[in-house]
Symmetry: C2
Amino acid sequence: MYLSARGEYGIMAVLDLALAKGSSPVQAKGIADRQGIPLKFLEHILRALRHAGLIESSRGIHGGYRLAKPADQIRLGDVVQAVEGPIAITPPRSSLRAHNGNGHGAPHSSLIQDVWEEVKVSVVNTLNRTTLADLCRRVQDLEEQRTLMYHI
Amino acid sequence: MYLSARGEYGIMAVLDLALAKGSSPVQAKGIADRQGIPLKFLEHILRALRHAGLIESSRGIHGGYRLAKPADQIRLGDVVQAVEGPIAITPPRSSLRAHNGNGHGAPHSSLIQDVWEEVKVSVVNTLNRTTLADLCRRVQDLEEQRTLMYHI
DNA sequence: ATTAACCCTATCTGTACAGTAGGAATTAGG
DNA sequence: CCTAATTCCTACTGTACAGATAGGGTTAAT
């Protein structure tokens, strides 16, 4: 069971934006370099994030991206769903088993759909428990620890 | 984010076994017909379930499969992990970003790995909250309701 | 006008998954 | 012992999709 790489890229991208305190927008090229994401692929991710209303962009020669809302109002679930599409547990193809030879296959599939639904809800809830602001705080904690280590 | 069809097939298979009250083993062909699963594909699923110790088989002309433990000791998480392998959120490829041009890409990936770990735990926990016995009970409840409807 | 950025559509490519094929090993019954 | 039915195992195939790339259009600052 995999979340695709897009989710990871998406989180890295918005985290990069959140950590860029300056008032000027952040260029895709910079994000790509810092986070190790292929630039052309990152552009797709950023487009999805923008369409979801999570980030804003300005075009032209000093253009770039910034968060569209405060970091504590951006939940990881929003980010992941923006770049990966709605979280589904089974591919749509799952209903292709509605018809097979005997005419009434998969008798208990509705029960299993309920289970998948539970799983999906718990994934979304787990992702939504953490906001971008939380992640920023963790980054700062980590760097603080690193500095302490360095001073010993 | 998808669970593959194997998980669904696996659950249908063990549920079929759990609902077969008889003392004689259940043949793969029967499961395949009742649940609408291609026989040859189902064989792979059953093999995985057997290797995980969830079901037992007897070979030969009146062979078949039965549960290796009582239904209330088989959790859906066990079944899913048996047929799909350990639940992973990101493909192993995720560490390929340890080296890119500047030499130190993906600075916050450990934080994100923590998030994925949380998600994974919540998926496993959600699946493990339901046992095969629970599913059987739900099937019976559904059939009871269906019978009532029929009598009106 | 030039340039640097974002924006969009299309295409390539590898891989994982669902499904298929063929046959070896095992057991029951005649 | 022979046959039939079943599990067991290995290998192969086709396809859909994700990651990645390519190329060019659009916008705006200088």
